[in-house]
């Protein structure tokens, strides 16, 4: 192990953050105590450390006092670590000699009614940061080249916009779309709000641009199967599914007239039929047919062959039965995920009768009925008898604002319905329309005006959420059971047609082949809810559109352009600095057991099977999770910037005073630490016993850290990390979970109550879960402190 410099000069800067910290924590008192810590030669307080003046004062203090270690006690490192690292650099000190103590999200904001304990805790958090700072070493950030090429996953309006933006900026873009055509939901809608533009008319040109852009490679009917690598250097494997129709296809449509197989047309919400050989809709891009092999008799002349025959007759010969799925590998520097949301499945609400009563439709089916290229060429008719409906009801919040399905509001449904009612009134002004709602959300530009117009046109808005729909078995008319809240009366008006205004469901868990953190609502999580709305915590990967949260076209386009510039920023630099948090093997002690190689999901640590040589780390591939280090039987792997000693010193500092009252929490940077921050941001209060130690991943937590904590008399210890499938480092939390059995056996041997140790999976969106855990573990620690059992030296 390398020795720290002999002349450590630590500067501690306490931030009041206006009143955010200062209102609860007495930072002057903390400053006084900090002065007495070993190696601390300078202490100061600031009102707003992150501001220009604040940073300047820190900078000056570093220079004037020759500080060579800097500790800022303020907000979460997830917010301002980079800010203060930059300040440190500008003062001439290596940025990896900088450490933060989180006395806001983890202290002042969660202990608002206990200023005395909060102040005490703040000091101990500072002491922990100082303990680590003492052992920090300078690091240099290696630079890696960034491939000036982007991959966009998802070809809806967000994906299309992002592709065009980056391509126009001069970068190569690969756009991968799962379905046979790009366009997504927008391509199948009829009109858009609030301008009542024809949807495909405004999207179509963009879709063509994508096809013809020299910088864009369109891979439709393709899926990304694997993504490996790191920012600037991703490798993706893409499955190009066989269409059985070549690019020479002129979309003449002759094949469909001879195909014997009819299948419900998913584009029309199953309201119409298509053939097994088909093009999704006339404006599809690529403008190319394809064969649906799931329903086709068989792509060979023995089973059928009619389509190929007629195509040859016409002299085109662009149907190729020998087509095959193939895998294509590409190298890209950045990725934009724009895979959209899933429309809510209304069959989950059986009392509304969707799927059972033919005249109950969902929004997408309704849009297709209205669409001129839909199943009825734009005529609004009832599926049961093809008659025009005279009385139409719209029901809002289907699947949204509902604890049983999705708690959130789906953003677009109110305006979607208002627009639809205006379309009906435009063509058939005598139609009676009732909209049943809980609240009308018309928050965007032009939205309130459209709502006003709808009311002027005679659309009736009734506040009351229907409990059920019943169908008359003969007429197939529908009766809606609802309370007219205005009249405080039960009514059951009859309608010819009911449209369920469905909301958005979260994307599927496997929408991309890499684990990206999700919020509690299932949507992909942005790096910061206000300031980094299109970044993810994975550098180089961005999100845009419905995959991040339900939204309309304008907001999807906005996010897409935002994600594009974020990606272009990286690609324009040509190179990016890599965080130097990697593993190092002490070759002199390595026994070549190979355990570490089984822990690394990146293939960054390798060992030559036959030769008994030490393991070798590829620093470019190493992401710094630390899982290898924690499981190395010889303890000969060292994690830069998160060494064993640095972590143990934090443990010791945390448990110096009254350890029996303390709850030591190991939290991972991307998930559980974020969850703890969220609890702070949300001002969720909990007892002051907790002391959080941040590692990159839960996989870093060596059982020795836990043993040390209990040996020092800790009241309780919690090991926290990402949810099982969501580990930012792919498998770190899985290995952390495996250690639990070992640790619990040790607890038994030591006579330590099992409940004093807890393993919890907390995502960055689960502030409440963190609060509950802290409350629970604090009670356990208090209980223990009261009983005061002594811990014997372990038999290890």
């Amino acid at each position: 192990m390398s020795q720290p410099e002999s002349n450590i000069r630590i500067g501690v800067f306490l931030c009041g953050c206006g009143r955010n910290i200062a209102a609860t924590v007495d930072i002057d008192k903390v400053a006084e105590k900090a002065k007495r810590l070993d190696d601390v030669v300078f202490v100061d307080t600031n009102k707003y450390s992150c501001s220009e003046t604040g940073q300047a004062s820190i900078r000056n203090a570093i220079r004037e006092n020759n500080l060579n270690r800097v500790v800022v006690a303020s907000c979460s490192p997830k917010l301002h670590l980079e800010t203060f690292k930059a300040t440190t650099v500008s003062a001439g000190v290596n940025p990896y000699l900088f450490e933060m103590a989180n006395i806001r999200e983890h202290c002042s904001w969660v202990h608002m009614h206990e200023p005395v304990q909060a102040t005490e805790k703040a000091f101990e958090l500072v002491e922990m940061a100082v303990a680590k700072a003492r052992l920090l070493e300078p690091q240099t950030e290696p630079k890696v080249r960034i491939t000036p090429k982007a991959m966009v996953i998802g070809g809806g309006v967000a994906g299309i916009q992002a592709s065009l933006d980056m391509a126009d900026a001069g970068y190569q873009v690969v756009l991968v779309e799962k379905s046979p055509t790009i366009g997504g939901i927008m391509a199948v809608l009829d009109k858009t709000f609030p301008t009542m533009d024809c949807s495909i008319c405004i999207l179509g040109p963009k879709m063509s641009d994508v096809k013809s852009h020299p910088n864009i490679t369109l891979m439709a009917y393709s899926e990304v199967k694997e993504i490996k690598g790191y920012v600037g250097n991703f490798k993706a494997k893409i499955l190009r599914k066989a269409r059985y129709v070549t690019e020479d296809c002129t979309a003449c449509d002759e094949c469909t007239s001879v195909c014997p197989i009819s299948v419900p047309n998913e584009v029309d919400g199953h309201l119409s039929w298509r053939k097994a050989i088909y093009m999704p809709f006339p404006q599809a891009v690529p403008s190319q047919f394809l064969i649906d092999t799931e329903h086709c008799h068989g792509v060979n002349p023995i089973s059928c062959g009619k389509c190929r025959d007629v195509c040859r007759e016409k002299g085109a010969d662009c149907i190729n039965y020998d087509d095959q799925d193939r895998i294509e590998e590409i190298e890209i520097g950045t990725i934009v995920v724009a895979t959209g949301f899933k429309p809510f499945n209304a069959a989950r609400i059986p009392e509304y009768g969707w799927g059972r009563y033919p005249n109950v439709l969902n929004t997408l089916e309704f849009e297709r009925l209205f669409n001129a290229s839909g199943p009825t060429e734009g005529h609004l008719v009832r599926p049961s008898d093809m008659e025009q409906p005279k009385r139409v009801a719209f029901i809002q919040c289907v699947g949204s604002r509902d604890q049983r399905f999705n708690e959130y509001c789906s953003n677009f449904c109110c305006l979607e319905t208002i627009k639809s009612t205006l379309l009906i009134k435009e063509h058939w002004p005598d139609t009676e329309i009732m909209v049943f709602y809980i609240d009308i959300r018309a928050f965007g530009k032009g939205f309130e005006e459209l709502y006003h117009r709808a009311r002027e046109e005679g659309v009736r808005f009734i506040r009351g959420r229907p409990s059920q729909i019943q169908e008359d078995p003969e007429t197939h008319n529908l009766r809606v059971f609802v309370e007219d809240q205005n009249e405080n009366r039960f009514i059951s008006p009859e309608f010819d047609m009911v449209v369920l205004s469905i909301g958005a469901d979260a994307p599927d868990p496997d929408v991309v082949p890499i684990p990206l953190p999700r919020g509690a609502d299932g949507f992909l999580l942005e790096a910061h809810p206000k300031l980094k709305p299109v970044d993810t915590t994975s550098r180089g990967i961005f999100i845009a559109g419905g995959v991040e949260s339900p939204k309309d076209i304008k907001e999807s386009v906005t996010q897409a352009s935002a994600a594009s510039i974020r990606a272009v920023q990286l690609m324009a630099k040509g190179e990016v600095r890599i965080e130097p948090i990697f593993a190092e093997v002490d070759a002199s002690r390595c026994t070549s057991c190979g355990t570490c190689t089984t822990r690394c999901p990146y293939g960054a640590i390798t060992i030559q099977e036959k030769k008994v040589t030490p393991a070798v780390v590829n620093q470019a591939l190493c992401e710094g999770c630390g899982t290898c280090a924690a499981d190395c039987p010889e303890d000969c792997i060292r994690m830069r910037h998160f060494t064993d000693e640095q972590i143990l010193e934090q443990v010791r500092a945390a448990l110096k005073n009254q350890p029996e009252n303390k709850v030591l929490v190991f939290a991972c940077t991307f998930c559980s630490y974020g969850g703890a921050d969220l609890a702070g941001v949300s001002r969720m209060q909990y007892p002051t016993n907790g002391r959080v130690i941040r590692t990159m991943c839960a996989g870093r937590v060596d059982p020795d850290f836990v043993y040390e904590a209990f040996q020092l008399g800790a009241g309780a210890v919690a090991l926290t990390g990402c949810h099982p499938q969501d580990c930012h480092f792919i498998s770190g939390n899985r290995f952390a979970a495996k250690r639990e059995t070992r640790i619990r056996r040790w607890l038994d041997k030591q006579g330590i109550d099992q409940e004093r140790f807890s393993v919890e999976w907390i995502s960055a969106g689960e502030g409440k879960k963190f609060q509950n855990m802290m409350t629970r573990m604090s009670e356990i620690a208090e209980k223990f402190a009261k009983s005061r059992k002594k811990v014997e030296k372990p038999v290890v």
């Binding site: 059986p350 009392e351 059972r356 059920q468 019943q470 169908e471 008359d472 078995p473 003969e474 009766r479």
Partner: protein, 294 residues
């Protein structure tokens, strides 16, 4: 036939079946043994009912329920109920008694009468048991005389609500009873107000509302052209069987009464039992001959 599911039960008859609608008990005593069920009787009290008794004092309600559960537990025997109300009561009681503190305070009440409930036995409803344990496949095999009329099923309320405790069928659109009828050869129809409560609960304070609800239900049955109503809760059955007669007699409205069956009666007929094995004459609304095709 797969007989790995539990078939040894103590039958919880409740109050309504033995004391108001004994013809359901007649049907049950004929049909259940044919399904391989070993039946036993114990001196249970009223479950107590989940509407009136529960409205008075919760602790008393829970104590009486606990006593019933304790009786079965003493004999180490699972409970099979034929009444949805008893089912709901015993299941809710079981769920509440999982809490140690509550169980202790209730057992303190039971101590003077020498009873204790520890929380071990299971409670089934006959329809639940048929659907989940016996299974539709096995049911298909025992049907030798399929019935062929259009039925309107009435699952009622207490069989599947509150759903977070009962976990039987969908709480707002139950379909298990329909599937059980289909297996007998019957044609269950979708009809307006299929999921409407029978209204007996509110009848404790306002009989007019109950009558309105009965009327709505029967109108719906007629609109869908179903021939009979089939249910599995004796309280619902009594509400419709007697209720329709009362409305009919008092000329409050003109309705053609719809005969009401308990599912076990139809199951018995489909399993080949003769009509005289049952007590059809005890139904208030006469069962027309053609409906009982054997």
């Amino acid at each position: 036939m797969d007989r790995t599911s539990n078939t040894r039960f103590v039958i919880f008859w409740g109050c309504t079946i033995p004391l108001r609608l004994p013809w359901i008990e007649v049907a049950a005593r004929k049909v259940l043994p044919k399904l391989g069920i070993e039946m036993k009787d114990l001196p249970f009290s009223c479950c107590p009912d989940p509407i009136a008794s529960k409205a008075l004092d919760h602790m008393t309600w829970l104590s009486l329920a606990a006593r019933n559960l304790a009786l079965a537990e003493e004999k180490k025997c699972d409970i099979l109920t034929l009444c949805s109300g008893c089912f709901e009561t015993l299941k809710i009681a079981q769920s509440e008694l999982q809490d140690k503190a509550i169980r202790k305070s209730i057992n303190d009440v039971l101590k003077p009468i020498g009873r204790e409930y520890q929380g071990s036995i299971r409670v089934f409803h006959i329809v639940q048991w048929l659907y989940e344990e016996f299974g539709l496949e096995n049911l298909r095999q025992v049907v030798t005389h399929p019935l062929t009329f259009r039925v309107a099923t009435h699952t009622g309320c207490h069989y599947m609500r509150p759903a977070d405790i009962l976990h039987t069928d969908d709480p707002v659109y139950p379909e298990h009873l329909d599937e059980l009828c289909q297996v007998l050869g019957l044609e269950p129809v979708d009809y307006p107000d299929k999921n409407l409560c029978c209204g007996v609960g509110v009848g404790l304070v306002d009989r007019d509302i109950t009558q309105e609800l009965i009327l709505r239900k029967i109108e719906g049955v007629h609109r869908a052209k179903a021939e009979v109503l089939v249910a599995h809760c004796p309280t619902c059955i009594q509400t419709y069987d007697s209720g329709q007669m009362m409305i009919h007699k008092s000329h409050k409205a003109s309705i053609t009464p719809v005969p009401v069956f308990h599912y076990l009666e139809l199951l018995g007929l489909a399993m080949g039992l003769n009509a005289d094995a049952f007590a059809f004459e005890e139904h208030r609304i006469p069962i027309p001959e053609p409906a009982v095709r054997i």
